[in-house]
Symmetry: C2
Subunit: 711 residues, 2 copies
């Protein structure tokens, strides 16, 4: 009956939703999800042919699917959506499909809301209000759940102060099935009677995930979201034509503030590449002039001075140039993440990376600390720029945290212009291959147990407790284009059972990171400590299911390019206003040419995008990498000042800056949606723009409400 | 017989060349030229349909023309060029067409060579050597004609010193037919018996121009040059694939030097917009803090303090922002040169332009001088960057030069990092309309007579004589997309007869600028003074004949975008290595989107391109506009370090930096073509690249030699 191999899959998804969008998924959905997942692990060419999640612009397959669906239910009256919503002539789907899509999208939003609340991450008020309306409930401002960030030290206060930590709770933290639980004491731990810190439930999570997988492959929802996104694009273009000059007029009338002095945060930057190539070169030369005779390295037990180290590499820093340093990405790195990673080694020598860009080496990471402090000092001079550098925790060893915290405290690597993040590279396969860890569970334990312990008894590791105060989020990093071949399901081995050399899938990684962060945040919130957001790299390459896993778990993501490939996910990211830190210059060197970057498209449609540099060392040329990023986007995409200020405001909202700082930079009501939340005197963002965004979002959410309530 | 309305035109052009490429043009050619010219003055849409100079990629019309041509001569044997040149399989033209094209190109090169030599402008050795070979003559190094630039002041030397000028020659300078002649005395002047300073002859010039007009519209030459350019493109792509890593290896081995510390010149920048918007804003605020009570303006005879001036504009500088300053180009300026020009007025107030960006005002241009000196100081700090700002002479009044020179001397606006140029706006129509000048000849006289006089008797105007030492070139500026409707021919009114309000054509302007500069340079060279180059804006918009006029007269040009439209001219600019200062960010805001800019294409084909900012105030965002320009080009076009260093070297070669400076920045043999002329230690440009460029140019020139000698 169906020519397409996926028609039956689609049918199953449809019937699932017809039953009712809120019912837990059954075996049939699981089967669909598995097939979808399987198709994703095939290589790119094959996937391109199948195009499970995407809708071609002329939509022939989907029109067919839609027609089939209509045939299926042809005993029902064909009500056109147009009849009830005159504005919706663009919709052109039958009422059934419309209701179906809306129910699916509604459930998807409730899923995200649930996981955000569980982990003290952000879900904006506006969609929450619509969800409550659909449920016939009252939305209350006190339902708002927010992350907690450490306020900047008051004048005279020492950010490294180890006094005044709360006392030891005496709790016991122990891992079970890949997640750290907190127990009253060892006895409760032995009986696995954890304290009441709600966390995600694996079975429900997989269920939710399978539902979403089916949803993003579901014909009517794909068609509906595709058309809504097209509409959002055209609507913005009309807004621009009508209101561009009005927006500019607002900004011109706004005294004091312009794009240069509105705050912007570099929302995605790796500490090891946060200096530009010229800066690193200068630093290396200077260090040699000062420290040539200092012992900086130990090779096979033998101490080496810097002079000896450079001599062993046949180098003299005096001769070094940006070219021979060779840390900049070029044409050779395009589509070659492996070659790109090698660029982290100055002059191709890992010894120099160790010496200058590591926290742990013979000089206790002194140079790396100095370089970062120089970068911070440049940001302080620039006044309006902030950055969120990421430092690595590998999970190879439980004392990594102590060492990192000791580096942070020893060198006093603090600046009000920096907010710290922890990135966890997904390189289990390498560590397992070298027998550094017995199984994946051990890695998770190494990553999370020390923080639980420092949270229970801060004085047991004061340096770590200080450092954790300044950490705002976790990142998960690696080349997403590598396929693991594994599908995450309830049947997947538990982390402690995962002892093969192969890495688990992206979704598996993400779930266990999230589950631990969620429980950790419960504990920290209870103790009045700052919480951590989950802000993984996602959608830079690889399968679109990555974006699905993060829709469930991440406060915000870095990259998001692959939202291009799934209209359903793209629309969901829009509805939930999931922040996306985009780095078009990084993409341009690695995955996608600048002109083809979806930044402009996402921005026009109203997705919440910010601009970030990723790796100034590899990608940027000038002294102000973040300004370079903005300038190039402004030039190539012809952004208006209002566009740029909107993106800058998004970056502050997305960042780990504390509530005090956000109030200072964005205005008292920064948490409120719509024009009310915008203080143009601080943001230089036109109220017309804010009103447009708010009305448009409410309109889209209201459509969903109408679709769900139509029954 | 011919379907195309231009087929007969083309036929005439062909027969013209068949007679012999070196014969002076006859009436028939003139008729062709007039028709071509006439077609050019039609508006763009019409011209696009006709596409007189362009070759579509699939070339249907030209294949047809070619076929017709072949039919014309079908009694002749059809020798394929491929037979004699195995490498030339890409050529695919008949031998006759090949010879025809080569003869035309040969003559075109001799025309440029003649006019360059006449005005002490540059024509590179390599094409000269091939021309001499064709003529059976010996090329001698002493034939080289070069411009003379003032050396930088030695340590302790005062660049404003008015001593040691050569004595008065007592000559008389007087204008005749739009050109200044120098006479021994007034009596000789009355009899028009000028001293023997060779200059261009109008009739010959028009003859040469008509020949070139016919050539660029000639089918076989269009086809030939189109194919050669395609070949050059493919050849470079092959070179890149084969040698990219080798080039990089050379650069990595090159100690000390990288892109950051190789010299680059901003070869096209207007003094009035040489600061960025943020710099201007800061300066205005600072000036108000210091000078609020200073009288800075006179309105209807009444003196106004700065406070009063700003109050009269309803402004307070404290509230000013980059937005309200409103000097940046945006989406509104695209294709709107008129709107762009209005952006020169801060806050839309011409009073502020007068106060901050003019050399002549109530404070004697003090602020403008200070701003420029601040820009120069930034360049000095950056160490490796130079700029060639352009100041205006309008030709409205003969004392403009004296005033400008007085500003220059009074404020001591000198920096070793700046080389000065004079821009002459083509706004005769406005001045004539307001009755400021009686005819076009008067404008030319106002522009050139004072310099002739200061050259004859430097002590008569010591400040001007000092200033002229630091001036290196003339520019001709205005919106090229305005059509004058006038065609320049021997029948055109002489400048003194041109008394209508309409402006003469671009070519007419260019010829008279050139003719005066050529004669002036003869005189200055004789006196051991520095000479002036002609470096007009050309090919930013408007008719391709602009590029033809400048091929004949200009040492180098700014923009050159329209070379895209004429393969013949593009190939000629390549063969003669005419430098082109390109400003893709400026184009992006005015005429052509960044991705569509031909910079990369021209660079790959081997045209001699440099990068320049045009107007940092309007186009750039960062503190280092020239670096921003390079960075964006590098990112969007994925330029390699070698590409960027080649462009930087081109910019130094193209500039008015003195021979001493060029030797210092590029190496002793900088004037030599090919690898011999490149000192990688100074330029960081790979010898492989230089060898590739040199061999490729020689190969193309040799093809022409073979074509011409084939008879």
């Amino acid at each position: 009956m169906f020519s397409s191999p996926f028609a039956s899959l689609w049918l199953a998804a449809v019937s699932l939703n017809n039953e009712f969008a809120l019912k837990p998924t059954d075996d049939r959905t699981r089967a669909i999800a598995e097939r979808v997942f399987a198709s994703e692990t095939k290589d790119d060419d094959v996937r391109d042919e199948i195009s499970l999640f995407d809708v071609p612009d002329d939509c022939p397959i989907l029109n067919q699917e839609l027609a089939q669906h209509v045939t299926e239910d042809d005993d029902e009256e064909k009500r056109s959506v147009n009849k009830i919503m005159p504005f919706q002539t663009v919709l052109q789907v039958t009422m059934d499909d419309f209701e179906l899509a809306c129910k699916g999208l509604y459930r998807a939003l409730t899923i995200r809301e649930k996981y955000m609340r569980l982990a003290f991450q952000r879900f904006p008020d506006t969609p929450s209000q619509f969800l409550r309306k659909i449920e016939g409930e009252q939305w209350k401002p006190e339902d708002q759940v927010l992350p907690v960030f450490t306020s900047p030290p008051k004048s005279g206060e020492d950010p490294f102060c180890t006094k005044d930590f709360p006392p030891n709770l005496g709790y016991v933290a122990r891992m079970k099935d890949g997640v750290i639980y907190v127990y009253k004491d060892a006895a409760s731990a032995d009986k696995h009677q954890p304290l009441n810190h709600p966390g995600p439930d694996l079975v429900t999570f997989i269920d939710d995930m399978n539902f979403l997988i089916a949803l993003i492959a579901q014909g009517p929802t794909k068609t509906y979201t595709h058309r809504r996104l097209k509409f959002l694009m055209s609507k913005f273009n009309v807004h621009e034509m009508l209101n561009e000059m009005e927006e500019m007029k607002e900004l011109k009338k706004n005294p004091h503030r312009d794009f240069y002095n509105c705050r912007k945060v570099d929302t995605h930057i790796h500490a090891a590449a946060c200096m530009n190539q010229k800066h690193l070169l200068r630093f290396i030369k200077k260090s040699y002039r000062v420290d040539a005779d200092r012992v900086v390295h130990v090779l096979k037990g033998k101490e080496m001075t810097m002079k000896e180290l450079f001599a062993s590499l046949n180098l003299h820093p005096y001769d070094l140039t940006v070219d021979s340093l060779d840390v900049h990405a070029g044409r050779q790195t395009f589509q070659r993440f492996d070659k790109f990673n090698a660029k982290y080694n100055p002059v191709g020598a890992s010894e120099l990376r160790d010496l200058y860009m590591k926290t742990e080496n013979h000089i206790s990471g002194e140079y790396f600390a100095t370089i970062i402090k120089e970068v911070a000092s440049d940001l302080e001079d620039a006044r309006y720029q902030y950055a969120e550098p990421r430092l690595s925790i590998y999970g190879c060893n439980p004392n990594e945290w102590t060492k990192l915290a000791s580096w942070f405290n020893k060198h006093r690597v603090f600046s009000p212009h920096l907010k710290w993040m922890i990135q966890v590279p997904r390189i289990y396969d390498i560590f397992r291959g070298r027998n550094f860890v017995p199984h994946f569970g051990k890695m998770l334990e190494n990553i999370f147990l020390p923080i639980f312990q420092a949270t229970i008894d801060p004085n047991s590791n004061p340096e770590l407790s200080v450092f954790l105060k300044h950490v705002t989020a976790f990142d998960s990093v690696d080349d997403e284009s590598k396929h693991s071949g594994h599908m995450f399901s309830t049947k997947s081995p538990k982390p402690e059972e995962w002892d093969i050399v192969k890495s688990p899938s992206y979704s598996y990684w993400i779930y266990y990171m999230y589950a631990n962060i969620a429980r950790l945040n419960q504990l920290r919130k209870e103790r009045g400590m700052n919480t951590f957001q989950f802000r993984p790299h996602c959608g830079e390459a690889g399968a679109v299911t990555h974006l699905l896993a993060c829709f469930m778990t991440a406060d915000n993501i870095s990259h998001g390019l692959n939202l291009k490939k799934s209209p359903v996910l793209q629309y969901l990211y829009y509805l939930a206003q999931v922040p996306i830190a985009m780095s078009p210059l990084s993409n341009n060197s690695l995955f996608l040419e600048y002109n083809k970057n979806p930044l402009l498209e996402f921005h026009k449609k109203g997705l919440m995008v910010s601009l970030s540099t990723d790796d100034p060392m590899q990608f940027h040329y000038t002294k102000e990498p973040l300004m370079e990023e903005y300038a190039i986007a402004a030039q190539v995409f012809k952004l208006s000042t209002c566009d740029m200020c909107e993106i800058a405001r998004n970056s502050v909202l997305q960042s780990g800056l504390s509530a005090e700082e956000k109030i200072h930079f964005l205005g008292t009501n920064y948490l409120k949606d719509g024009p009310e939340g915008n203080d143009i005197r601080k943001t230089n963002l036109a109220q017309i723009r804010m009103a447009y965004r708010y009305e448009t979002l409410c309109y889209e959410l209201n459509l969903i409400r109408e679709g769900v309530m139509a029954d």
